[in-house]
Symmetry: C2
Subunit: 183 residues, 2 copies
DNA sequence: GAAGGCATGTAAGCTGTTACATGATTCT
DNA sequence: AGAATCATGTAACAGCTTACATGCCTTC
């Protein structure tokens, strides 16, 4: 999903400035399955405006810089609908964490342990954070939220229950890393 | 993780041609957490060769085009080790599927149902496929494989148990899509 | 006083994808 | 006959990230 469609999607939940859109994508409800930076959002909003998909109004604020608040037009809403109804592309998952663990026989076991431990902590924090802001009313967001929780919980549990087994396997195996690492 | 490092990682498991590397990344053991296309692998191998990270030998085959088989050099192995020991970047997950479901109140419920059902089937196929080729001997690959299974199973179970609830919620709610969709 | 949040934008550069180009062989 | 697999590579293009540029206000 490109930056333009993402902006339309976010705007369908209510008017927002570019800054606010980034916050919703980076820290808000979309955080776990979409990303976008300023460098992609501002140009996207510009193009959407040219194409008549969004309207802008400038809002003055005291003590703060002015805001450009964008809102969906009818055209924009139609376009979003068309995009949402289209079959979605495949999910993308990339993990350097798993890649490192895949090759953990080349690594000192302490490093592998440290990687797993910090990942466990990250998942814990993430789940706790999700619990707090679970005031999702609408069915869609609630469903997606639950999905995220289910997946993160499973990942956390797996790491917790298999950490020690992996480490003991590593310490009792050839330890390929030593020969190479200290040459 | 960039294409170059990925190539080094794959080569550490044994010599391979560009074609074979792509197959391992796209269909083999890395399939679920890394991706790479020919357009990124071949140039990456060229650069790695320039930098002395890999060695090449050409192998003639009868009935098949010749192969360029790459193998790690000592420098390449050292470099890989350094990359693996470095703290990994965050995992990336992007899902247009979840984005669509987040906004499912804008969609006809049949479409939402169809999306979930085909995703359920995909997860089932994927898990079955993983079961078959679970002949992972080494601790690292086995750990990573188990992680994937745990996560996919959790996702599947969630979809199976929450599908109907979502759909009944959708059919009993305002049905925002109707007004817009048929104008 | 420094750091961080609010706020908008541009531009260079990196990276990767898609499509193209080529060609033999084997399977259906 | 046509499709798929093996095999390598290039080039155009698209897209996103990072860093830069600016500036005020609030909190620590």
């Amino acid at each position: 999903m490109d930056a333009k469609t993402l902006c339309l999607a976010v705007l369908s939940r209510g008017d927002a400035s570019g800054y606010e859109i980034r916050k919703q994508v980076g820290e808000g409800p979309f955080q776990h399955f979409q990303k976008a930076s300023y460098g992609s959002i501002y140009p996207a909003l510009g193009k959407l405006h040219e194409q008549g998909m969004v309207a802008v109004r400038e809002e003055e604020q005291d003590g703060r810089p002015d805001k450009k608040v964008y809102s969906l037009t009818a055209t924009g809403r139609q376009h979003l609908l068309a995009m949402l109804a289209q079959p979605a592309g495949e999910d993308t998952y990339r993990s350097d964490f798993l890649t490192q663990l895949f090759f953990c026989h080349m690594l000192p076991p302490e490093i592998a342990a440290a990687r797993i431990d910090s990942r466990i902590q990250e998942y814990r924090d993430c789940l706790q954070h999700m619990d707090q802001k679970c005031a999702c009313a609408a069915p869609g967001p609630r469903f997606v939220h639950g999905f995220g929780q289910a997946v993160y919980s499973a990942a956390l549990t797996y790491l917790e229950t298999n950490r020690d087994r992996l480490l003991s396997e590593l310490s009792s195996s050839p330890a390929a890393h030593e020969g190479d690492a200290e040459r």
